[in-house]
Symmetry: C2
Subunit: 399 residues, 2 copies
């Protein structure tokens, strides 16, 4: 059950429905960070790279995220921003396709990208295309199956649309990409920690995601990169920093990639943010998907509550808000819904300002979207009812 977990977060009287942008502060973080700063940095200093486990943090924390996205250990590494990881993943996928083409004959010269994606994925994919001599072709996820061909090298898709909250069909799309002989790269920013992803089960090739939304890692906390185990020996990073070297402390002039997930590392890991994230993941590790005994969260329980929360919100909005005043962009079908609800209205910017002023925190997405994120770990049904009620009142004033 999740109801006991709200107390593991620092919350106040506001209704916080912006955890899909910045997760609330987990109560486990401040104490851990104090220890990292005072003892590990302040007292142990340089020794901590070894003795406090700083050096191995990227892969250790990757293994803490792994069960939450359905990945066996040893396939995820934490570090850098989501944008930087998109670049690594897309370039690496193109290089794998290049290698395949070399044996198969013919050149795969196209990268497909989700045309509705959060902009950074498109920008980074464009750069990856430019630097690998490919063409970037934006298509909606629905158009992907028809757009795939023997020209397709890689496809970059979002599991959940950041704007509408639509959940895309990862198993079917991944299968279609594979059928075309291409590589599937999934962006999990808006799904990891909110619903089942099952990367291993569906044979996803590469995936990336941030950790500051449903994983509550803190502002700008490091992102992660998943490379399926059997593809790791072929992962040819465009950012082969020294910490991804097979023998980083040998300080050799020639690069030799490490085996396994650490091959996705780049520079010196950002320890303060990384260990704050590690502590933030504690909530999953007491009987949750992490495995130890206790009372932690499981993805299955989170998903069930998430759907119940968004269902309830949509019902309350329908009941309280005059018909036609807002339009939901979020699918009604559970199979197509992430953990947020997006409502369109012409005066969304103004409405969200008023909502925030009244203690209902969502966010506004240009030009006309009200976005409400539901983090099942700490959002309650009472929160949901209040949010819909205040929304209705606010729309009444503003309208």
């Amino acid at each position: 059950m999740l109801s006991g977990l709200r107390s593991r977060f620092v919350l106040d009287d506001a209704v916080y429905l912006d955890g899909n942008s910045l997760g609330a502060l987990p109560a486990s973080v401040p104490g851990r960070l104090t220890d990292v700063v005072h003892r590990e940095w302040g007292e142990m200093r340089i020794r901590s790279w070894d003795e406090s486990g700083w050096w191995t943090a990227p892969e250790r924390i990757g293994d803490r995220i792994a069960p939450l996205v359905g990945a066996a250990p040893g396939q995820i590494v934490v570090g850098d921003s989501t944008s930087v990881n998109v670049f690594k993943a897309v370039v690496a996928a193109v290089r794998m396709a290049e290698e395949d083409s070399a044996s198969a004959g013919g050149r795969r010269d196209e990268i497909l990208v989700d045309a509705t994606t959060f902009p950074t994925d498109g920008y980074m994919a464009e750069s990856a295309a430019r630097m690998t001599g490919r063409t970037l072709r934006p298509v909606t996820p629905a158009e992907v199956p028809a757009a795939l061909s023997d020209r397709t090298a890689a496809v970059l898709l979002n599991h959940v649309d950041y704007r509408t909250g639509r959940l895309h069909d990862l198993p079917a799309l991944t299968a279609a990409v594979h059928e075309a002989g291409a590589y599937a790269v999934w962006d999990l920013c808006h799904s990891a920690g909110a619903l089942p992803v099952d990367l291993d089960e569906h044979g996803v090739d590469l995936a990336i995601g941030c950790t500051y939304k449903y994983l509550n890692g803190g502002p700008g906390s490091p992102a992660y990169l998943y490379v399926r185990r059997d593809l790791q020996p072929r992962f040819d990073s465009p950012l082969p920093g020294w910490t991804s070297h097979a023998a980083p402390f040998a300080m050799r002039p020639a690069y030799e990639a490490a085996a396994g997930a650490p091959r996705g590392r780049v520079g010196t890991p950002d320890i303060l943010s990384m260990l704050a994230l590690e502590a933030a993941l504690d909530v999953w590790y007491e009987g949750g998907d992490g495995g130890a005994a206790g009372a932690g969260a499981t993805i299955a329980a989170v998903r069930a509550k998430s759907l119940a929360l968004t269902d309830f919100f949509l019902r309350c909005v329908a009941a309280y808000v005059p018909e036609g005043r807002v339009e939901s962009l979020t699918p009604v079908a559970h199979a197509e819904r992430g953990s947020q609800v997006a409502l369109r209205c012409d005066d969304a910017g103004d409405v969200m300002k008023r909502l925030i002023h009244r203690g209902v925190i969502g966010d506004f997405r240009h030009p006309d979207v009200l976005r409400f994120g539901f983090t099942p770990l700490y959002v309650t049904f009472a929160d949901v009812e209040r949010a819909a009620r205040v929304l209705a009142e606010t729309l009444g004033e503003a309208g």
Copy 2:
């Protein structure tokens, strides 16, 4: 004067000569970080991106570093690792050279890289060369002038050699690179915060550096990128993440680079580490090069003390250590010396273990180098004498 500044750092009875790897904890950091976590993240949450100045932190903190490396404001942005910034800078430099060639005719197809560099610079430059269709040619800094030609696109050099502590002639080498019509990229990891760099004065094109050595930003704290003001409109980033967009919140599918230093940004800034760094820089900002009235550090005072400390260390070593037992790799001439001393001896690995056990913290660099870094902000002459004495005793036992 710097003597009063030691109390601004958390130190103990050990002699800490590893500030060229991980700077000691500034006393200003823990309180600031507590406030960032509890109030800015925990209470204000998403509002802090705007109201706590999180969004503009990369360029604001860049401006805090600027005076320390002789840069006018608006040319430095903080974020990502040093490795990632090497990639940005080298690719951008090659693209500038490409643009020049397009008008001049002929193609500049070579990148020169310091053959004695810290490995990550070589690895990233190799990737930059591969992805821009150039050839990477490793040469020692001394060989650079002869190696330059109309084939040279960019040159990546270290201001101070990480191994030997040798300070290279930035003004002369930059002038030679410019004479050849190429772009100079400098790695300031081992010089910034320890000696004058004067980027603007010497017309350096691009520069990068870490912040966890002499700037004491904490383990893996974000690096920085300098792009000379007049080159900024031509800075064409290979990692054009959404936060480098001219209008990031318009969420436009087409990329349009921001003006100025923010063009060097990539993904969402890593706030915890970034604001810890900002607080760590306070020591420079009370009468120091930051400009406000008070009693802070200036680079001139730091450099004077650094040379006095390394001179004294070399004298103590000569006096205490039997002749021939160690060999200094660090130049005697001040103009060629950074802020560290590197001593070669066959059993360096074992010797450094013993030194650390006896409270003298330096580090070992494969295969035979003892490295001692002198951070003038907190290393005392008494530390230096003790380090040399303990070194002599240790070498006696081990020899």
